[in-house]
Amino acid sequence: MSPLCITGYSVACAAGIGVQSLTASLRDRRTGLRPNDFTDAPLNTWIGRVPGLEDMALPPGLGEWECRNSRLAWLALQCDGFFERALAAIDRYGTDRVALVVGTSTSSIGATEEAYRRLLPNGLYPEDLRRSIVHTPHSLGDFVRAALGLEGIAVTVGTACSSSAKVFAQAERLIRLGLADAAVVGGVDSLCGSVLFGFNSLDLVSPEPCRPFDVGRRGISIGEAGGFALLERDGERGPWLLGCGESSDAHHMSTPHPEGLGARLAIEQALSRAALQPGSVDYINLHGTASQRNDEVEARVVTRLFPPATLASSTKGWTGHALGAAGIVEAVITFIAMQTDLAPGTLNAQHLDPFCGPQVIVDNQATDIRIALSNSFGFGGSNCALLFGKYRDG
């Protein structure tokens, strides 16, 4: 495929608000995880909570979308000069020629949970939450559309933990076919009871900070995050989107295919669309949730597909698993890795599971990173692999 230029990007997560802050956390190996202080009912786990969201306010005119998820979206839009870049692109191309494709797992379900906690005796919602848009999953896309003043294609993708990776693939199609000239992609997921107690019900949350690929890993740490990227056909400098691959496992709703069949298909398709060989990949940001099954299956796929010189790590020890926002957060982390020529290691891992090949690194490692892959896999067996390049020609 013809590469697309990423002409702007932003991130807000527990390990850093803004690219500069996240870069420093990655370099200094400073986790954003902390003991769960989010839920009223006790839940023994660690979370990636973005500080200060409670005290934020949305600007006038966007009050209809008021909720934690919109506040996090607004914060991420304001980071790294993204808002201004996006507005400049919209000015250049037209309000209906910049597509909006954003991903989320639970959108603003936290607002619905709050309404149910505060139901009036007559069974009605409290008045401040009687806003239908925050009780439906397009809440995220609709908010960003309104915030940026967009008037074109505007979609919220919900494929669980692959959501904000798949948005790159969808936007690439729209631009390639001429249905849009540029696209704002990204994703936002905020902490809520549904995911904390939901993953708890599946015995998937860790009582300690998550340790991806560690032989003694005990599950995931859930985080919240938001991030955006601006995709255009050309730009002065990268990073560049070189390839995307999408597939399904056709196996199980909440566990990956035992041989990682779908994961392998997605990675191979991304490589093939970029006309690159596995040996060209310098760094892989793994999905690496620290669940038993994901890490085992993913490690095996990487061992089988890539040469020992390719470095691979999971950065969820910094951010937590941002679910529907994991794709965009980890895309931004691969941009940072290419920008700084530093492959982040796997924070919190001490003794790697023997399933890991030589690719998986624990410590940060300085190295020239020209081509990087980012993996995202979701419930329902939805897989997406994105291939990014420091340069257009790979």
């Binding site: 037209g94 239908s132 294609i153 993708v157 919900g158 599946l202 496992d249 419930f379 329902g380």
Partner: protein, 278 residues
């Protein structure tokens, strides 16, 4: 500023399916949609999710049951092999019944959340069951665009078909809102639409579409004569499309993508040209 292309792209509809409480299946729906028959007063029971194992079938959420039904019928109608067909699942609200259950349980006994209901709460649950049930490794996506979900879902299916050169399945559905959520979110009835679109005519296309995006406005609520059959559902937005498919006469249909952008489709039918396209 680049202009939107007028209807300068071509696609073919290879298969169609529809299910609504008073339109249970395409064969029952088509005569009603073209005004040749009255809709039954009786509402049909929810379709059985026959793709699933009998134990899973009974406890399948409404979203899964309706989505699997129209997905299977659309593929049958197109003669498309689900294993070879990428899919786009589009639902404005997702599983409103599970959202009601989750929010209610979280307010009372959060640690008693059902793990199955939790993994069924993801927006791509129906898509996941479809992929598992058919053994399809082809990619699917699951999306929402609130009141514009049907139009955006169809646009994405058309874009995928044109981009891949292969048939693509659209599965669009919404279910009834429940509990306190129903006081805020309007969604009535279980309604699903399945469409298989492809970039080439193949052996037996049902319709040809000349399509593109154009600036223009359309209401969000469909105002066709069949509106009452889908009243209160975000899927009522599909009516202009399914009516055009049922009437089988050349026509132009615009589906809303945003308040000022339309997916415009010029319909033409092989039966009007004895199989020879003009």
């Amino acid at each position: 500023m680049a202009e939107h292309g007028v209807s300068n792209r071509t696609a073919y509809v290879h298969g169609i399916a529809l299910w609504a409480p008073r339109l249970p299946g395409w064969n029952a729906a088509a005569p009603v949609l073209r005004g040749a028959a009255a809709a039954p007063e009786q509402t049909a029971p929810r379709p059985a999710a026959t793709l699933l194992a009998p134990t899973e079938r009974r406890r399948a959420p409404d979203t899964v049951a309706i989505a699997l039904e129209v997905a299977a019928r659309a593929c049958e109608s197109a003669g498309a092999d689900p294993k070879e067909t990428a899919s786009v699942f589009a639902s404005a609200h997702g599983d409103l019944a599970i959202n009601d259950y989750m929010s209610d349980t979280l307010a009372r006994t959060p640690t008693l959340i059902s793990p199955i209901r939790f993994h069924n709460s993801v927006h791509n649950a129906a898509a996941g069951y479809w992929s598992i049930g058919t053994g399809s490794l082809q990619p699917y996506t699951a999306l929402t665009a609130y009141e514009d979900t049907f139009g955006e879902g169809l646009l994405e299916a058309l874009a995928q078909a044109e981009s891949s050169g292969r048939p693509t399945l659209l599965v669009a559905y919404d279910i009834e809102a429940r509990g306190p959520l129903a006081t805020i979110v309007t969604s009535r009835g279980i309604i699903g639409v399945g469409v298989v679109v492809a970039p080439h005519a193949g052996l037996n296309p049902l319709a040809r579409l000349r399509w593109g995006t154009v600036r223009g406005t359309a209401g969000t609520a469909s105002q066709t004569r069949n509106s009452e059959l889908m009243a209160g559902s975000p899927m009522a937005a599909c009516l202009p499309f399914v009516e055009a498919m049922a009437i089988e006469e050349m026509c132009m249909v615009g589906l809303r993508l945003s308040p000022t952008l339309l997916l415009q489709m010029q319909f033409d039918f092989p039966s009007r040209h004895e199989g020879n396209w003009p």
